[in-house]
Symmetry: C2
Subunit: 176 residues, 2 copies
């Protein structure tokens, strides 16, 4: 039986940082330097954190976000040797449910609806691996947690870190 991998969406297959920076600039005319985001909670990296957080409720925010570089190629390969589940804590933003579903259908048509999970708390989703950018998910993983680098998590020293999809593939090829 294939090993299972839970793969987060935002900051893992969705380049939500770039999206957030771009939309914040469009809305408020202020371009955030990505280096200034390092080590800060995501919304706190913006001059107006409340305004930044409100953008998450803006129609289209999740639907038109760019793909993380290398994600399509990586998931295409992983899909052959693992059972992949896309697991997104989408329930906090109910407006995102349909947008995330449509985003996946557009960019990852080879992922079946059977393998998509939208939840709140991920602790009862049990897979052999979890690739995520947040400790709130990774710390409760019953399999092997893999920390995917995002600006907000650069100072975290727990869990196996991968900086991009090339490194993630390299690690997982050794654990098929």
């Amino acid at each position: 039986m294939k090993k299972t991998i839970a793969i987060d969406m935002d900051n893992v297959i969705v380049d939500i940082e770039t999206n957030w920076i771009n939309i914040y600039e469009q809305e408020f005319g202020v371009k955030i330097d990505r280096n200034e985001m390092l080590g800060k909670p995501e919304d706190m990296a913006f001059p107006d954190p409340v305004a930044a957080r409100n953008l998450l409720y803006k129609p289209g925010f999740f639907r038109y976000a760019p793909i993380m570089p290398g994600a399509v190629e990586a998931l295409t390969e992983l899909n052959k040797n693992f059972e992949i589940y896309i697991v997104s804590a989408a329930m906090e933003f109910p407006n995102s449910l349909a947008e995330k579903y449509d985003w996946l259908a557009e960019h990852f048509p080879f992922i079946s609806w059977r393998n998509i999970i939208f939840c709140g708390d991920k602790s009862v989703v049990v897979t052999d691996f979890l690739i995520d950018d947040h400790l709130k998910n990774l710390d409760f993983c019953k399999g092997t947690p893999i920390l995917f680098t995002a600006a907000h998590n650069v100072n975290i020293t727990k869990h196996h870190r991968v900086n991009n999809w090339v490194e993630a593939l390299q690690f997982l090829r050794e654990h098929v």
Copy 2:
């Protein structure tokens, strides 16, 4: 730590049979006798199974479905002694995602978004109990499966069966 229960929506907390019968009658003027549904796959219980299945895509089908009798009282009690997760295989009907979220917010406001899971395949959702009406979910349950009676499953002899929320509560009170 509290034991965890995954609770299905359709035919468990949502009275989808009554809803389906009512909407089929509204649309096609034919009232289905519930006794004729016994032991048949859900859509096959209707004179025109394709038309019946198409009703699942009708806006409002999931949003305005009635609650299963006793479900609110039962979940209110269970919520004190267990960690409850609502786990619905909603992903097959992406139109249902927002409707199911809104339905839960209206009828079960005490269930946090953290405890809602919309998925396809439930096999990677691991809880101590799963209350569901379908073998496709119960057979892969790693905890204790509990079969909730629905017309389509009356002939199934696997798993512990509960006929209603009074029986479900009785069983779970003995397993806190």
